[in-house]
């Protein structure tokens, strides 16, 4: 927590840029598909993840993000395409031979083993001596601040503690890539925020590639160096959080990441002369007395604590506007003029399927 986040992000971006140019990617998916019968869970996905990157697979449930993670881990095999890990084709390599470890959503701690043996499990199957593996496990446990818990059973631990054990169990094997499946999904809000920063710090300290799956866009944007947004088996957009948020490439991304307003192409044609959909962030719209760019009818409002959100009907299109707390909230049914700074309106390519 010593460096300013934006500074770290830009440093990371520079690192990443050079990494992409000079090194082989840590993980790359080459037109990978995974079909379950008629369902195309993952469909012709291409993805390169650089070494040392904190990468998020973001999307709603059923979008294919978890299947993607399972393909990298080796729990699923692609219907077609190749999974390449550090330049080596891992498509036909079973999970126990991949330099990749996973933190499971339900943690998957072995209930019959105590915490120490859970963490030492991977070293045990590798054939390490008891003393050596227990020492390594103790070190891994202290890395996640669970030093005194070695003798307990998983059932005696809280959700947050179990998650740290799962983390230690994966990290003790010194994987080149750590996969995290909804790592914070089962934790309560307070713990989740704490774990977010801990995970981020851990990743920075260890320099390992982290790939994590989440449906929470806030989590993805705050933690990841880069985000891939999934929808119905396809990647809609890959980019740094700021890019994805400010410059969504498709209406789906605009809507899913930060609930942006999506203006239909006919409206954009009137405003900007281009017949493509565009996104407009609710917080970038202002109410104005004089000539606005659009006129809307107020159909609803909600108090959000730090701000007010009003819902508008603009010629059949529904728009949200975020008003600062200091601004007056217009009455229901009144007409308001809307305006925004040039450049706030971000034109997109159409939805690709």
């Amino acid at each position: 927590m010593d460096a300013r986040p934006d500074q770290v992000a830009s440093n990371n971006r520079i690192l990443r840029q050079s990494a992409l140019e000079s090194m082989t990617p840590a993980v790359s998916l080459r037109s990978v598909s995974r079909h379950f019968g008629q369902v195309r869970a993952v469909d012709a996905v291409n993805l390169d993840i650089a070494e040392g990157e904190f990468f998020a697979l973001l999307g709603p449930s059923g979008s294919g993000k978890t299947t993607c993670l399972r393909l990298i881990a080796g729990f699923e095999q692609p219907t077609s395409g190749a999974v390449v890990i550090f330049g080596e084709d891992a498509t036909r390599v079973p999970p126990y031979r991949r330099p990749v470890n996973t933190v499971f959503q339900d943690y998957a701690l072995f209930p019959h083993l105590n915490i120490l043996d859970n963490v030492a499990y991977g070293l045990m199957v590798r054939g390490e001596k008891k003393a050596a593996r227990h020492q390594a496990a103790e070190e891994a446990l202290s890395l996640v601040a669970l030093g005194g818990f070695a003798g307990r059973k998983p059932s005696e631990l809280s959700g947050g503690q179990r998650q740290r054990v799962a983390l230690a169990r994966a990290l003790v094997l010194k994987p080149k890539v750590l996969l995290l499946d909804e790592p914070l999904g089962a934790l309560d809000l307070k713990l989740r925020e704490q774990m977010q920063s801990e995970l981020k710090a851990l990743q920075r300290r260890l320099g390992i590639t982290f790939i994590f799956v989440t449906h929470d866009q806030g989590e993805a944007l705050s933690m990841a160096d880069r985000v891939a947004v999934f929808d119905r088996g396809h990647i809609q957009q890959i980019g740094a959080p700021q890019d994805v948020y400010d410059r969504p490439e498709t209406p789906f991304v605009a809507d899913f990441v930060g609930s942006s307003n999506v203006l239909p192409s006919n409206m954009v044609e009137q405003l900007a002369g281009q017949s493509v959909p565009a996104s407009l962030r609710p917080e970038q719209i202002r109410l104005t007395d004089t000539d606005g760019k659009l006129i809307g009818n107020v159909i609803g409002s909600a108090f959000l604590g730090a701000a007010n959100r009003i819902e508008l009907d603009v010629g059949g299109v529904r728009l949200s506007v975020l008003l600062p707390k200091t601004a007056a909230v217009p009455d229901l049914g009144s007409l308001v003029n809307l305006t925004w700074d040039d450049g706030a309106l971000h034109v997109m390519r159409g939805e690709h399927v």
Partner: protein, 267 residues
């Protein structure tokens, strides 16, 4: 809803439980009666004499020995086959999965006499003489389901991600089997095995069709029931059978306590 049961319900439930247990308790009394010609109640006196008499009966020992051997081997076969089947049904989705679970249940869903006479006609057709192994063949068949039920329940309760986690941490299928799957299903298998043992030890309907001249303990008892010759010895044997079957049942209960709701279901 009231959290307390009405008096009527309490009384009927208690009477129901008594109805289930009093007849078995009666066996305990009769084993000590001095009366040896009839089933007289109340017993005219009590004695330990018949335990000694039974102890010196070679036919009882022989029947007991055969029953124990049949039960042991049938249990082993049923444990292997039932576990394999449970693993396949619980861990895979495949065409015909429902049919397999039905096939496993069929030998106990259909009356035992069907299994018995079917096996007997098959032995006749295939010209297989009756032996120890023909008894085992029948017993193992209907014991599979008991192990299967226990194992399938445990497999379903054991999160599938445990296997994935093990392989993710570098364990092969065989290592995963040894270090993760076996420790997690062991008690369920043991419980299933105990119940299979009790089931086989007690079985009579199928056995009469597959045993030929051999006498298992239940067949010995059945003959005494149809044509009573030594009532006191039968009383003592009945008591012993109750005690011998209670041990594996209680063991199975303690092995699966708190993990499955109904471990022994589907006898």
């Amino acid at each position: 809803m009231h959290s307390k049961a009405s008096l009527g319900l309490k009384i009927t439930a208690t009477c129901g439980l008594l109805f289930l247990h009093l007849p078995i308790l009666l066996i305990f009394v009769y084993a000590f009666t001095t009366e040896d010609k009839s089933y007289q109640w109340p017993p005219p006196g009590f004695t330990l004499e018949w335990f000694g008499v039974t102890w010196n009966r070679p036919d009882v020992w022989e029947a007991l020995g055969l029953s124990l051997r049949v039960a042991a081997i049938s249990t082993v076969i049923a444990m292997v086959l039932g576990t394999l089947c449970a693993a396949a049904v619980a861990r895979f989705k495949f065409f015909g999965r429902e049919t397999i679970s039905l096939l496993v249940i069929l030998p106990i869903a259909l009356p035992g006499i069907i299994t018995g006479i079917s096996l007997r006609s098959a032995f006749n057709i295939a010209d297989i003489p009756f032996s120890f192994w023909t008894i085992v063949l029948g017993h193992a068949t209907f014991c599979i389901v008991v192990v299967y039920n226990n194992a399938v329940a445990r497999f379903r309760r054991t999160s599938g991600s445990l296997v994935e986690a093990s392989m993710d941490l570098g364990a092969t299928y065989f290592q995963t089997l040894r270090f993760v799957i076996m420790p997690n299903i062991a008690t369920a298998l043991l419980a299933g095995g105990m119940l299979a043992f009790a089931l086989s030890f007690d079985e009579v309907i199928v056995t009469t069709f597959t045993a030929g001249q051999q006498q298992t303990l239940p067949i010995w008892m059945l003959e005494e029931l149809v044509r009573p010759r030594q009532r006191p010895v039968t009383n003592v044997v009945a008591l012993l059978v109750v005690l011998v079957t209670f041990i594996p049942i209680l063991a199975a209960y303690y092995l699966t306590r708190g993990t499955e709701t109904v471990a022994g279901q589907g006898k």
